[in-house]
Subunit: 302 residues, 2 copies
C-alpha cells in the first residue's frame, strides 16, 4: 500500500471513472488501473465494481476510500507542519552565553532578538565556556556565544565583535587621571580577576603576561560584578572588557582607563553544531548583535 495508490482510489471514487481519475492524478489510465488492481490484490478484496460506462464502489470499497482520505489528510498535515516549521525563526532557541558577556549584552540583545524573531522564545544559559561547550555538544544548547578562537570538531563558529579590555580603578586611585595605561604597568598593582574557570581570566593573562607573576596570590572573584564592587571598595584594580564598562555601571565610584597599544581585547562570536539547520537564526543573532549600541565594540562584518 502506498500513498499514491490511496490517491488513485480516492480520485477514482470521486470521478467514478478511471480515465478521468487518471487525468486528475496526472497519469495514464492503465497506470491508474494497474495501481488500483495492485492495491485490491494486496488487500484481497474489490474496491471498485467495474461496470460499463461507470464504476461503482463496493460496500467495503466505500469504507476503504473513506479511510484512505483520512490517511491522505494526515499525510498532508506533514507537509503543512514542514512549511510552518521551515521558518527557522519559529520555535525555541536555546542560547548559551559566557558569564563575562551575558550581563552586558543580553539586556539589550534580548529585546532586539524578540523584535526580529517574535516566534522564537529564548532559553538562556549563562555559564562558563567549558560547560557551554559540553551542553552544545550534547544538544542541550543550540547556539553559544563565546570568545574566539574556538576550535572544536564538528562545531562551526562565526565572529560577532571585538572589544578592547580596559583598566578599572576606584576614584582616588593614583591612575585616576591617566588617559592611557601600558599593560606592563599592571604588574605592580593588585589586579583582581575572575577565577580560573572564566576564559576571560586567561585572555587577560595572555594579554598582560606581567600579571601572571603578581596574580598568583591575588583573590579571584566569581563574577565581574563582584570584582567591580571590590574595586569600588578599594580592594584593588581590575581589567574588564569594554561592554562591562558602559556609563551605567557605577561611574561615580569607578574610573575606566584605556590600555596602550597593542590594545588587549577579545573577540566574541557564535558557535553551533555543524548539524544545526537553522541558518537564519545565526543571521538573526548576528544582526541583532550588530544593532546593539554598546560603546567600544567593533562589529565584525563578513
Amino acid at each position: 500500500m502506498t500513498l499514491t495508490e490511496l490517491q488513485y482510489i480516492v480520485a477514482a471514487a470521486q470521478e467514478r471513472h478511471f480515465g478521468r481519475a487518471a487525468e486528475r492524478v496526472f497519469v495514464t489510465q492503465p497506470a491508474l488501473s494497474l495501481a488500483i488492481k495492485k492495491l485490491e490484490e494486496e488487500l484481497g478484496l474489490t474496491i471498485f465494481d467495474r461496470r460499463q460506462n461507470r464504476i461503482e464502489l463496493t460496500a467495503i470499497g466505500k469504507q476503504i476510500v473513506h479511510q484512505a482520505q483520512r490517511v491522505l489528510e494526515e499525510a498532508e498535515q506533514i507537509k503543512i507542519l514542514a512549511t510552518q516549521g521551515k521558518d527557522h525563526l519559529n520555535g525555541p532557541l536555546r542560547l548559551g552565553v559566557i558569564a563575562t558577556v551575558g550581563p552586558y549584552i543580553l539586556p539589550d540583545l534580548v529585546p532586539q532578538l524578540s523584535a526580529r524573531a517574535p516566534k522564537m522564545p529564548l532559553e538562556l544559559e549563562e555559564n562558563l565556556t567549558l560547560n557551554l561547550t559540553g551542553m552544545l555538544k550534547n544538544g542541550k544548547l543550540d547556539v553559544i556565544m563565546i570568545a574566539l578562537p574556538f576550535d572544536e570538531p564538528a562545531i562551526v563558529t562565526q565572529a560577532l565583535y571585538d572589544e578592547p579590555f580596559k583598566v578599572l580603578v576606584p576614584t582616588g586611585h593614583p591612575w585616576q587621571k591617566k588617559k592611557l595605561i601600558d599593560s606592563r604597568q599592571l604588574g605592580s598593582e593588585k589586579v583582581l580577576l575572575p577565577h580560573a574557570g572564566h576564559c576571560f581570566r586567561q585572555q587577560v593573562l595572555d594579554a598582560c603576561p606581567e600579571l601572571s607573576r603578581s596574580d598568583a596570590e591575588g583573590w579571584q572573584g566569581n563574577s565581574l560584578e563582584t570584582i567591580r564592587q571590590m574595586v569600588a571598595s578599594g580592594l584593588g584594580i581590575t581589567v574588564m572588557p569594554s561592554s562591562a564598562l558602559t556609563p551605567k555601571y557605577d561611574s561615580a565610584r569607578l574610573v575606566a582607563i584605556s590600555l596602550a597599544k597593542p590594545v588587549p581585547g577579545r573577540r566574541i562570536g557564535l558557535a553551533w553544531r555543524r548539524g544545526f539547520t537553522r541558518p537564519r537564526v545565526i543571521d538573526t543573532i548576528r544582526d541583532a548583535v550588530h544593532a546593539l549600541k554598546i560603546p567600544g565594540l567593533t562589529m565584525v562584518t563578513h
Copy 2:
C-alpha cells in the same frame, strides 16, 4: 513522501540509531539513510540531528515523526478494514426473488440464511424477473433468484433446484381423484394464470402449448395466491410450482395433481453481476436453499 519513508523515520526516531532502525524495517542502513535524506529534502528541513554515536530529533522533526505515526496508524486501519470486510458474510446482502418463488421459499430460507450468516442482514426485493434484472444490472441488487435459463451479458448464474408443475383443482372437481393428468388435457379447462409479467406464466405456456389457445380470453391473476383463492372459489383450475403446493396451503378446499411425463417444471437459480466479489455469499445461499425441506424440489448439485 511515501508510507515507507514515514515508517523509516518513525523507526529511526524510536531507535535513535540508523543501523538498528534499518534492521527493524528490514533494509540496509544506506537504504534507510537515503530514504530519510530524500524525505528531508522533499520537506526542505532536517528531521534528524546526526550526531556521533546517536541521532537526535530536531524540534520540527519531533512533530513530523509524531504526525507520521498518525498517518501510519490510519493506514493500518485500512488493512484492518480490509481484513474485516473480506468476510463476505459481513455486511448487507440485497437479494431479489421473483414473485412466484418468494412467498414459498423465503419463510424457510431467511432463517436458514440468518443462521449461516448472522452478520449479513438481508434486504429483500420481491418482483418480476424483468424488474429484478434491471435492479441487478444497475447495482440496486446483489443477487437475484430467478428461473433459468437466464442469459444476460456480464451476468453469472448458478442453478439451485428443479421443481415440477402440478395442477391445482378445487375439491369436487371431476379430476379430484386423478393421480396423473396429461398436460394436453388442460386445454379443455379454464386455467387461471398470473398475468404476462410473470415468467412463470410463460413457463407454463411453454410446457403446455395447449393453453395458449384457450387462455387468450381467460382472466389473469396478479399472484399465485389470488389465483389459489379463485380456484378454491370454483372459478377455474390452475398450474402451480410444487413449492406453492405444500400441505400448509389450504389443502382442505384444494387438490394438487401431478402432471404426466414429460413433467413440466422450472429450474430456479441465482444470478449476479460478474463483478460481484462475494463468492461465499453465493455458496451460502445455495447451501441454505439445499437445506430447505420443501417437498417436490430436486436440488441441483455441482
